[in-house]
């Protein structure tokens, strides 16, 4: 194959971050959506739900942040 169909100029790491953000985006949406639903169903358990919600949020968010930092660690 000698013909190039499409080419990207600039830092490809930005595209990488866009891809890396898809999964955590969905995950954070699910976690906060379900967390709010749980609090609405049982407001008296709001404290413990919020705690676990933030814990899950932090665990998911780590993936997005690794995606953010990777282009800085491997430039070009």
């Amino acid at each position: 194959m000698s013909e190039t169909l499409a080419a990207v100029t600039g830092n490809i790491g930005t595209i990488g971050y866009g891809l890396a953000a898809i999964g955590p985006g969905v995950g954070i949406g699910i976690i906060f959506g379900n967390g709010v639903q749980a609090i609405a169903r049982q407001p008296e358990a709001a404290g413990i739900i919020r705690q676990n919600m933030l814990l899950g949020f932090a665990v998911i968010e780590a993936l997005a942040l690794i995606g953010f930092v990777a282009p800085f660690i491997y430039p070009k």
Binding site: I48, L54, L55, A58, V59, A62, L65, I66, V69, P75
Partner: protein, 277 residues
């Protein structure tokens, strides 16, 4: 390595002095990057350079130690102002994290958790304190050091509490599952508990602070960059408003990251303290 990395964060302050504005001249937007996190040393002792983040770390430590020292050195039954503040802060970690997650067995670890929480929080807070404006934890060495500390405590508690064989069981073999699953689960649990946990603990804190600092930098530099012409000033005002909003958002993230780091540490410890089934 790369040429760009030779520029340091101190040179960035100088970039503000060079008049480089939108619609004026041909110079581009001086985007922040990895070099925004490298500082010229203030002074050097032999091969050791002493720079701004180290200074901030030392000041932060002194602030925390002196606050709790002043609060608790002469405890009274009816607490004074400083003692009440120190007690509220201590109680937040004691009740909200240690008791809630580990339970009664967590009492010996409360000092560790309190120190972790307030150290990380103050180190993060430096990001928005005027004149400092640099989160110390956005340099990977600081989170890695903290995560190593947590890892050593986690491992020693696991093995002291369960013995060697029981400790390995605690780390690798979660109880109460059908037997064939253990073939897959044991290696996963082993890697997850021993390698992935400290790694994500460090990277989460580091990356959050790194990303937050870069976000604030982008909009702060943009505010200066777009000033000058009438249209540019309108843009700059919007950019400045975003900077303010991001600063508030960062305050939330900083407290959340300190909380999450401490809660995860407590979760690991509570798992280590679990009785074998």
């Amino acid at each position: 390595m790369q040429k760009e990395l030779l520029v340091t964060a101190d040179a960035q302050t100088l970039a503000f002095e060079v008049d480089c504005h939108l619609f004026q001249g041909s110079c581009g937007f001086p985007a922040p990057s990895a070099w925004s996190f490298i500082f010229d040393p203030i002074f050097s002792i032999g091969p050791v350079d002493f720079n701004k983040p180290m200074l901030l770390a030392i000041i932060g430590t002194i602030v925390i130690v002196s606050l709790f020292w002043a609060g608790f050195s002469k405890p009274k039954v009816v607490p004074g102002k400083l003692q009440s503040i120190a007690e509220i802060l201590y109680d937040f970690v004691h009740r909200g994290i240690a008791k809630e997650i580990i339970g009664k067995k967590g009492e010996p670890f409360v000092p560790l958790l309190v120190s972790l929480f307030f150290f990380i929080w103050v180190m993060n807070l430096w990001a928005i304190i005027p004149l400092a404006q640099f989160p110390v934890t956005s340099l990977i060495a600081y989170p890695v050091g903290l995560a190593l500390l947590v890892w050593v405590v986690y491992m020693s508690v696991t093995f002291r509490n369960n013995g060697f064989v029981g400790g390995i069981r605690n780390l690798c073999v979660p109880s109460g599952l059908p037997k064939p699953i253990y073939v897959i689960l044991t290696p996963i649990e082993f890697v997850s508990n021993i390698f992935v946990r400290p790694f994500t603990l460090a990277v989460r804190l580091f990356a959050n602070m790194f990303a937050g600092h870069i976000l604030i930098l982008v909009f702060t530099i943009a505010t200066w960059y777009m000033l000058g012409t009438v249209l540019g000033t309108v843009y700059a005002t919007a950019s400045f408003a975003v900077t303010l909003a991001l600063t508030v958002f960062e305050m939330f993230i900083q407290a959340l990251q300190a909380y999450v780091f401490t809660v995860l540490t407590a979760t690991y410890l509570s798992q280590a303290l679990e009785e074998a089934h």
